[in-house]
């Protein structure tokens, strides 16, 4: 493999606080910045979800800042912002831009990303995106209330459609546009880095599955985010420039007649949004799959089962992910013939997902399993991925989806697969790589406690929602007062709210453990987990240019555990064959 020494200026480490920690071009600092942004965003998103859960369980509840209770429009603003923040600022940020930035270069033996300055720009653009999004809470009218899916015409016709649909909605669009730009920059960087900066001997089939996942995710991002950006621009034009891309003529809303629109299509927005939106959910989960594979292999002390099949499956998921978006639109008014096509294609995505699940189980089978914190979260990921993935099979079928669409069954499905499995992927990565990032260990006892409370808690929150959906409870309802049959589900709402509070409280254990361990954790060896990949050959934390000027050479695949005839039960990728101790 070529080493492009010229592409990265062999760095003297930067000096000065601003260049070291604020406008750093070091991928490790940038990855940490992304991670911190995602952590902050996760707490904002969780706070919103707790308010939502309180309102659902106790619709009349009075709270600080809500002395007359939470109004339905405020509830919907929380729903919208919760979804937006969690999907974009947490799930699209931490797994890919956070851990990918930090560890992709190191795992391939590079000194930094291919384009360090672009990398820095992509972080600060993301930061600006979050700032603009947060601003929506504080402007006149408040935050938008149309859901993170922002369907038109509700999102296109301004404040006349509802509170928050004025300036708040415009800020949302601007925020998302910035996020799209940042993601496209990041995608270019990841792809160029993976293809060009691999160390000698590191062929594609020797890459850790984490690198494959980040690479494939970047390809998806590159192809999907442009469409969202275009859709956002068109929507902005509808709102401000008198166009009618998404708004038909002759609308009558709340005793106002809107005559400025002519002949646009609300369904067009859905097509554009979901053409991005479906690949987006694979962007959210693929890095977690990569980390899960990596960690399951490491702590089973066993090569990953079916490495090539894993690469194939991730690629198939990425490809198929682009041709199934219409399964969000079966009852949208779209042609039912097109619906049939999307339905059958969507069922086929279950196949590569099943391959991965079988291979994770196959990795454990015959292993020698160590139950460390990262391993527990990886095991939890597998369980949650199975649960969340299987409910998708119901929703993928046109005829069955007619009942389940826009009910809590959908909410259960996407929360288990995104809101939990992907989050467990983030936790797996955090516990696994913390020693490398900070040179200290997180507390194992607290890690286990965090795992148990979270694992049990998330099932307690989201399993009941399947049944609420089967009972016909629609999504995005501020309370159950509007339909008689919903009253019977009110006790379920209360149970879920209790589970949510306990589970969110458990996350404080994680935050405490994280912050405490950064400064006071037990010092970690260079390779505390006895793992095989290149990041475990450099100091903790790694120096500015990762490998101190010496590019490693790779001699074997990434998962050589329990090799017969070898003294240890693992072999680092970069240990020359004649240096591997026999035993």
């Amino acid at each position: 493999m070529t080493t492009h020494a010229g592409a990265i200026h062999h760095a003297e480490a930067p000096s000065g606080f601003i260049r070291k920690y604020i406008f750093s071009v070091d991928h490790k600092v940038i990855g940490t910045q992304y991670f911190c942004l995602a952590l902050f965003s996760a707490f904002v998103g969780m706070y919103l979800s707790l308010l939502m859960r309180l309102r659902l369980a106790y619709p009349e509840i009075k709270l600080p800042f809500f002395s007359d209770g939470i109004l339905p429009e405020q509830y919907l603003m929380m729903v919208t912002m919760h979804g937006t923040i969690m999907v974009f600022m947490v799930l699209t940020t931490a797994p890919q831009s956070g851990f990918g930035n930090y560890f992709l270069p190191i795992q391939i033996g590079a000194a930094d990303m291919a384009f360090p300055v672009l990398n820095m720009l992509s972080f600060w653009t993301t930061f600006a995106s979050m700032a603009v999004l947060m601003a929506a809470f504080f402007v006149a009218g408040g935050a938008p209330l149309g859901g993170w899916t922002f369907y038109t015409p509700l999102s296109a016709i301004g404040a006349t459609a509802g509170p928050g649909q004025g300036l708040g909605a415009t800020l949302w669009i601007l925020s998302i546009a910035l996020f799209c730009g940042a993601s496209l920059m990041g995608a270019i960087n990841f792809i160029a880095t993976t293809l060009d900066l691999r160390a000698r001997g590191l062929s594609l089939m020797r890459l850790p599955l984490t690198v494959w996942a980040w690479f494939i995710t970047a390809v998806i991002s590159l192809l999907a985010f442009g469409v969202l950006l275009a859709a956002g621009i068109l929507l902005l034009l509808d709102r401000t420039a008198g166009t009618s891309f998404f708004v038909p003529g002759n609308l009558v809303i709340t005793e106002r007649v809107l005559t400025q629109y002519k002949g646009g299509s609300p369904i067009l927005w859905q097509h554009l949004f979901w053409f991005f939106g479906h690949p987006e959910v694979y962007i959210a989960i693929l890095p977690g799959m990569g980390v899960a594979s990596h960690v399951l292999s490491t702590f089973s002390r066993k090569p990953i089962f079916g490495y090539r099949a894993m690469v194939f499956a991730m690629s198939a998921i990425a490809f198929l992910g682009f041709i199934v978006w219409g399964h969000h639109m079966f009852v949208s008014g779209m042609s039912p013939y097109v619906g049939l096509a999307f339905s059958v294609l969507t069922m086929s995505i279950g196949v590569p997902s099943a391959i991965k699940t079988f291979n994770w189980l196959g990795t454990l089978w015959g292993g020698n399993i160590r139950f460390t914190s990262p391993m527990l979260f990886a095991l939890g990921f597998v369980s949650l991925f199975v649960s969340g993935g299987l409910s998708g099979l119901f929703l993928a079928q046109t005829s069955v989806d007619q009942y389940l669409h826009d009910t809590y069954f959908v909410v259960a499905h996407f929360h288990l697969i995104m809101g939990v499995a992907a989050i467990f992927g983030i936790f797996t990565a955090t516990y696994f790589w913390f020693p490398k990032m900070f040179g200290r260990l997180m507390n194992e006892g607290l890690g286990k406690l965090h795992f148990w409370l979270s694992f049990i808690g998330v099932y307690a929150i989201f399993m009941p929602m399947h049944f609420m959906g089967l009972a016909g409870h629609p999504r995005r309802y501020a309370d159950t007062s509007g339909a008689e049959y919903l009253q019977a589900l009110q006790p379920v709402h209360v149970f879920v709210t209790f589970a949510a509070f306990i589970t969110v409280a458990a996350q404080l254990i994680f935050v405490f453990n994280f912050l405490w361990s950064v400064w006071r954790g037990k010092k970690a060896d260079i390779n505390p987990w006895q793992a095989t990949t290149l990041e475990w050959t450099v100091p903790s934390p790694p120096p500015h240019d990762n490998f101190a000027g010496r590019t490693p050479t790779v001699y074997r695949g990434a998962y050589e555990f329990s090799v017969p005839g070898v003294a240890e039960d693992y072999v680092l990728q970069s240990t020359p064959p004649d240096k591997v101790a026999k035993g």
């Binding site: 399993i369 160590r370 199975v386 049990i456």
Partner: protein
């Protein structure tokens, strides 16, 4: 350095995790079997077919769920680290890969193809010529309906908007000069809608302002009401009763308050109801 774990530590964790997965599996299966919270009985034939497809899907996903969760629990317990144990150095098994890929493909895609029958029945076929047509109009935050009257034909709409965008009445007006519209019956915002039992019905679903969605659980049918479009939805209700209609697409702050009712009436009761509406 990984502390050499005492066997009991590893066993305790593995056991509790495996037992939790067992508990998860058993309790999930229980609630599906017991139907503690479930959909109501369908009131149309297609609803029954949709339910059968749901149950087929539930069987397949249920078996996979049980096997996967219990398999995970078993594997992590059986292969927990113990002194003297060494993992097997296997990179996989291509035969197994091929087998389970094909099996999954056949099962999932087969299930998906089979699901299209019920979809095609409702969505590909036109409503019968003698179907009763009813216009459904969604707006923030109530449903309205229009019946074509004895002539079975709807009058054309005219959109009369005042230039200053204020109005004192709904700009969607049935053209006075259109004879088809003379006997149209308009059931204003917040109305209840009725249909006769065992009669094919075709709903023509529209919206005035933003996207809504017309959903009746017992029919197993849902259709978005999209401004600028009229989307048909056909059904034949085979059981009398009073069935909740809810809005199933976020339409603003009153989204949860748009409920109304679909009445399925005997022919005599329907005639009575119709007479009342005409007044």
């Amino acid at each position: 350095m990984v502390r050499k774990r005492r066997n009991s530590g590893s066993t305790a964790t593995a056991l509790i995790l495996a037992l939790f997965l067992l508990f998860l599996t058993v309790s999930t299966v229980y609630f599906f079997v017991a139907k503690t919270w479930w959909f109501p009985e369908p009131i149309n034939e297609i609803g029954k077919e949709i339910d059968r497809q749901f149950i087929r899907t539930l069987w397949i996903t249920g078996v996979v769920f049980v096997l996967a969760q219990l398999g995970l629990g078993w594997a992590l317990f059986r292969y927990r680290a113990r002194r003297g144990q060494r993992a097997s150095y296997s990179h996989g098994n291509n035969t197994m890969e091929v087998i389970w890929t094909l099996a999954t493909l056949v099962m999932f895609v087969g299930l998906g193809i089979y699901a299209q029958r019920a979809w095609a029945e409702v969505r590909f076929k036109s409503a019968p010529a003698d179907a009763m047509r009813i216009e459904v109009i969604g707006q923030q935050f109530k449903w309205s309906f229009r019946l074509p009257g004895p002539d079975g034909k709807f009058g054309k709409y005219k959109f009369e908007a005042h230039p200053d965008q204020e109005f004192t009445r709904d700009p969607w007006v049935v053209e006075a000069s259109d004879p088809d519209g003379r006997d149209d019956i308009i059931l204003g915002p917040g109305s209840v809608i009725a249909v006769p039992v065992n009669r094919p019905v075709e709903l023509l679903i529209r919206a005035k302002d933003v996207t809504h969605s017309f959903f009746v659980r017992e029919l197993r049918l849902k259709q978005d009401a999209v401004p600028g479009m009229t989307v048909p939805l056909q059904f034949t209700a085979t059981q009398t009763g009073r069935y909740q209609v809810v809005c199933a697409e976020l339409c603003g702050q009153g989204h949860h308050l748009m409920g109304t009712f679909l009445l399925v009436l005997s022919p005599e009761d329907y005639e009575k109801w119709l007479k009342e509406q005409a007044e």
